[in-house]
């Protein structure tokens, strides 16, 4: 692992972290506002988190 690789990996993780934080935070808010929609919100949250995760892992994998 060279220094540019590590910096790139760090940037990817920062970006993915911000994205996951926003997804999770909004889902929490949504659940707090409408507890009866918990199931639907969770499913949508997991799908979007999975798509984001795929993007982040793809970038990490290409930069390896």
């Amino acid at each position: 692992m060279t220094v540019p690789n590590l910096v790139g990996a760090g940037l990817i993780v920062i970006g993915a972290g911000i994205g996951l934080g926003k997804i999770g935070g909004s889902a929490m808010e949504g659940i707090a506002r409408q507890p009866e929609a918990t199931g639907k919100i969770q499913t949508a949250m997991i799908i979007i988190a999975a798509l984001l995760e795929g993007l982040a892992f793809g970038a990490l994998f290409l930069g390896k």
């Binding site: 499913t43 997991i46 799908i47 999975a50 995760e53 795929g54 993007l55 892992f57 793809g58 994998f61």
Partner: protein, 388 residues
């Protein structure tokens, strides 16, 4: 009914056997870690070696009173396609050598094992030699069809799933409510059908539920198998996840209906000049990005989980001098217990996400046309249909 009972017995016996071996392997791997693996570099090498597939089923090693290294495990068959045709022999012939020194003669040619890969020596070469980048110069890789550790794990889980789900299906012929182990499986099957297949695919869900169920349980059980102390890392092999992603790709490519292909190749409702651009993006999305995201997500999650668990266990060794044996042992135990519990959740979640996204992609390909957007030619008809 009797077949089902027998298969339950078989499964139970297998599991008890596996776990009893697992426990003994665990207790002796502690011994081993005190012995040979004790520096940071050795720990890293050990972890990276575990992540890879191997040609023999290695349970543990120890040093006996004469100072000899003993390896406990069992060999697996090596099947390779060499210049002399198909050659097979047991991996025990390599005598646990992984550096290319031990030469095996089989089927008229000679093989060496180097970093878990089988190489065939060129004719006339007496021993393997390397260039300065440590690539072998007088040996080449062969097509490897071996029953490796991962293949063994997949076969084991495949047979168990055939017995379990075959038994469950047979029970429904005679009565409505399953008994025994089927009571654990039935809610999971219904969960996959009602929560994953139906909402994502729609009313055509029946023909795809079989695939989704198979993929869900295959990934989940293999993820769980990876958390046992046998060192299976099947779903962390990129070839395995790639094959699973290709299955999904094949299904949504061949089951895609006319609308799916129309929206992919010649998107209705946008200016004509943009359509080829969209077609390129859609084609790249369908044939590269979707399968790539499926395969990399599963591979990276499971591999990362294994590396984290093993690194936390390695605290036992790497921090022994700072924290004493008791302190490092306690720290390692607490952290690895915590992460293993999270890994149990991840094992389910990754199987769920893979199945869910497969269902989503299939659902996109088979979705009925809903007239929800503007079409140049059937604009008025669509609006009329909406009102009627």
């Amino acid at each position: 009914m009797r077949v089902f009972k027998r298969s339950i017995d078989l499964a139970a016996t297998l599991f008890i056997l596996l776990f009893s071996i697992g426990v003994s392997a665990n207790s002796s791997s502690d011994e081993k870690e005190e012995g040979p693996v004790n520096t940071q570099e050795e720990v890293e090498g050990y972890i990276l070696h575990h992540i890879k597939d191997s040609h023999d089923f290695h349970l543990f090693s120890y040093t006996n009173s004469e100072g000899e290294r003993k390896h406990v495990g069992f060999p697996l068959p090596v099947i390779v396609w060499s210049s002399e045709g198909l050659v097979s022999f047991m991996s025990s012939k390599f005598h646990h050598d992984d550096s290319g020194e031990h030469i095996v003669e089989a089927g008229g040619t000679r093989f060496v094992k180097l970093h878990s890969k089988i190489y065939e020596l060129e004719s006339g070469a007496e021993e393997i030699s390397f260039d300065e980048e440590h690539h072998p110069v007088n040996a080449h890789k062969v097509l490897d069809f071996s029953i490796t550790k991962s293949v063994f794990g997949m076969l084991l889980i495949g047979i168990l799933m055939l017995l379990w789900f075959g038994g469950l299906a047979r029970q429904y012929k005679s009565k409505q409510i399953p008994t025994g182990f089927g009571r654990i499986l039935e809610p999971l099957v219904i969960y996959v059908r009602d929560e994953i297949a139906k909402p994502n695919i729609g009313h055509k869900y029946r023909q795809f539920t079989g695939y989704l169920l198979t993929v869900f349980f295959f990934i989940w059980i293999l993820n769980l198998l990876g958390l046992t102390p046998f060192g299976f890392n099947v779903t962390g092999q990129i070839a395995v996840t790639a094959a699973l992603a290709i299955f999904t790709l094949v299904i949504y490519t061949f089951k895609g209906n006319k609308d799916y292909w129309e929206h992919m190749l010649w998107m209705p409702g946008v200016p004509v000049l943009i359509r080829p651009v969209l077609a390129v993006i859609e084609l790249a999305g369908a044939f590269l990005i979707k399968p790539f995201s499926l395969l990399v997500r599963l591979f990276a999650n499971i591999s990362a989980g294994h590396i984290v668990v093993m690194s936390l266990i390695a605290i036992l060794i790497t921090m022994k001098s700072e924290l004493t044996v008791f302190g490092s042992g306690l720290l390692s135990f607490v952290l690895s217990l915590f992460i293993t519990l999270i890994e149990l959740l991840v094992a389910f979640l990754q199987a769920y996400i893979f199945t869910m996204l497969s269902a989503l992609f299939i659902g996109m390909a088979v979705a009925e046309h809903d007239h929800g957007h503007d079409h140049e030619e059937d604009d008025a008809e669509g609006v009329r249909a909406d009102f009627i």
